[in-house]
């Protein structure tokens, strides 16, 4: 850039800076008042006593530890129990449903058998308990 170009750029920068500063100095009384209120509010915030450092560190750390403990207990309860592994439990549920479906099939196929069974005396009733 030429010297005259540099000079014009500097003039432009100087003039625009002065104008913007004049604009800032000429703010309305209402805006200036609200800026002052905002400043006081911020200063109150800065003066407010903050929690001790150990509280700021230990409270979040304690919360995290408690959450981790609950997660571990829940996980061990479902997955970590060797007597009821999760896959076995899931398979058990599925088998139970399948077995119930088989029972319904048997009911439909052997209606006559169950009608006959209903006419027979109860094997657990006192009058047949001694038969053997």
């Amino acid at each position: 850039m030429s010297e005259s170009g540099d000079s014009k750029q500097r003039d432009f920068e100087t003039r625009s800076r002065e104008l913007l500063h004049n604009g800032a100095d000429g703010l309305s009384a209402e805006v200036r008042s609200r800026l002052t209120q905002a400043r006081f509010k911020a200063l109150e915030e800065a003066q407010a006593p903050s929690s001790p450092a150990w509280v700021r560190v230990l409270v979040p750390a304690g919360g995290l530890a408690a959450a981790a403990l609950v997660a571990v207990i829940a996980w061990r309860g479902v997955v970590g129990n060797p007597e009821f592994p999760a896959s076995e439990a899931g398979r058990g549920d599925a088998l139970e449903v399948a077995a119930m479906a088989d029972d319904y099939d048997a009911l439909e196929d052997d209606v006559e058998f169950y009608q006959w069974l209903d006419t027979e005396p109860d094997a657990n009733s006192p009058d047949v308990a001694g038969v053997g």
Partner: protein, 197 residues
């Protein structure tokens, strides 16, 4: 012995805290008007600009008051720029949401448009514009139309007087980017305002 020593230190600590508060107050008082103008030029709304400046002041006081005072200016302007960007994003989202709703119509079936546009404008009225310097108005309008990064670089460097390193810290970019954005901003403004402005 230890207890009496601690008690003796308390007035000195209180005095130190008061000094820090006074220093923070002086800093905030020194930047608040320019910060407001920067926000107003970017946002073009007095109330939103005031909210943005207040948020930036609160954030600085809450989180950075204990930092060395010579770090406050770039930190404050970084917070201010983030708040301006958040406000612009909220407006963008709001305008997109309104675009999904069918336009309201008046009795003659004419579209009424966005209700926010019907709210009383915070822009200066005709009489205020008459009082406002024509040159200042032209400059503020031209700066307001600059791309965001150029606008930030120009206002922080030229208006606020931050050096290149402080501007880079406030804008969250490299010093080379600041120089590029600032140079382009000045070129654009000179073209927009004319040689004899």
């Amino acid at each position: 012995m230890l207890r009496s020593g601690a008690l003796a230190r308390q007035p000195a600590e209180r005095e130190s805290a008061l000094d820090a508060t006074r220093e923070l107050e002086q800093f905030l008082a020194s930047v608040e008007k320019r910060a407001f103008k920067i926000a107003q030029i970017a946002i073009r709304d007095v109330d939103d600009a005031l909210d943005i400046v207040q948020d930036a002041m609160l954030q600085l006081a809450r989180r950075y008051a204990a930092r060395p005072p010579d770090e406050w200016r770039p930190l404050f302007y970084r917070i201010l720029q983030n708040r301006i960007r958040d406000c612009q994003r909220r407006r963008l989202v709001r305008s997109r949401i309104f675009a999904w709703f069918p336009g309201r119509q008046d009795a003659e079936g004419e579209e009424l448009g966005d209700p926010m546009d019907l709210a009383p404008s915070q822009e200066p009225g005709p009489s205020e514009r008459m009082m406002m310097s024509g040159a200042l108005e032209a400059l503020e309008t031209a700066v307001g139309r600059l791309p965001k990064r150029q606008q930030q670089a120009f206002l922080l460097r030229n208006f606020e007087g931050l050096d290149v390193a402080q501007t880079a810290a406030a804008m969250g970019c490299s010093e080379g980017s600041v120089k590029t954005h600032y140079f382009r901003a000045v070129q654009t403004l000179r073209e927009a305002l004319g040689e004899h402005w």
